[in-house]
Amino acid sequence: MSPVASELPAFLDAAVLGGLLLASAVTLLAGYRVINGPTVPDRVVGLDTIGTNVVAIAALFAIQTGRGLFVTVSLVLAIIGFISTIAVARFVREGDIIE
């Protein structure tokens, strides 16, 4: 295997750039829902979407720049986002996180 991302094919480069732009736009739209959401679950789902999008942005940025440390960033962010989603779901449903 050749070393990753020393020079990306033109198609892959364009696809990664498009994915970055798309994920950023979706993050902005989810931010609107977080600020303006009528109910608490709306805001929670919006925040979860933002977290998932930041994970995607970090992974795409790792592909674009060839720096592996952003894969670690996305891994840790995904773990923390998963746990926060569970905690908030439990809070909304039970009113208490740890019993």
Partner: protein, 161 residues
């Protein structure tokens, strides 16, 4: 909160996913701890990740699960300070502080300034071929234990309220 105990029981899916995910989180934390000298990572973020794994156990299995399953004793009432598993967390905190400080004082004992770090390379190790031991791993282990002990104390005390 009042209510039937059946309502508050987490689903089988949540319990099973927790059993699968917690080891993955712990392995990630150890990997971050060991790569901390050369790459992003280190004691603090590894401790935070370990604490999130324990937080997941607390959320899904309840506050008494760790004490009954890990220490095999009846859980004491965790109100106040110094009771229950909080004392073990305090011991972890103190041990980490001692390891980190002792690692710094070891450099003083060898005639270097406080917290001087060094690195050694070993050639011809059977599996790794070239193996690297940095003395900073001792300080990182201390920071890891301090962060785990402090955050788990906060989690246990605040979660019990």
């Amino acid at each position: 909160m009042s209510g039937g105990s059946l309502d508050r029981e987490p689903t089988v899916i949540a319990r099973t996913v927790t059993r699968l995910v917690v080891p993955v989180i712990l392995v990630t934390a150890v990997a971050l701890l060991l790569q901390g000298h050369n790459l992003p990572g280190g004691g603090f973020i590894a401790g935070v990740l370990t604490t999130t794994a324990f937080a997941l156990i607390y959320i899904i299995y309840g506050l008494d699960y760790l004490e009954t399953e890990l220490l095999h004793r009846r859980p004491t009432v965790p109100f106040g300070t110094g009771t229950g598993i909080v004392r073990e967390y305090g011991n972890v905190f103190a041990a980490g502080l001692a390891v980190a400080g002792g690692g710094g004082l070891a450099a003083v004992a060898l005639g270097f300034p406080f917290l001087t770090q060094g690195v050694a390379f070993f050639e011809g190790v059977p599996v790794y071929h070239e193996f690297e031991i940095a003395s900073a791993v001792v300080f990182d282990l201390g920071v890891y234990a301090v962060v785990v002990g402090a955050l788990l104390t906060i989690l246990a005390v605040v979660g019990a309220e």
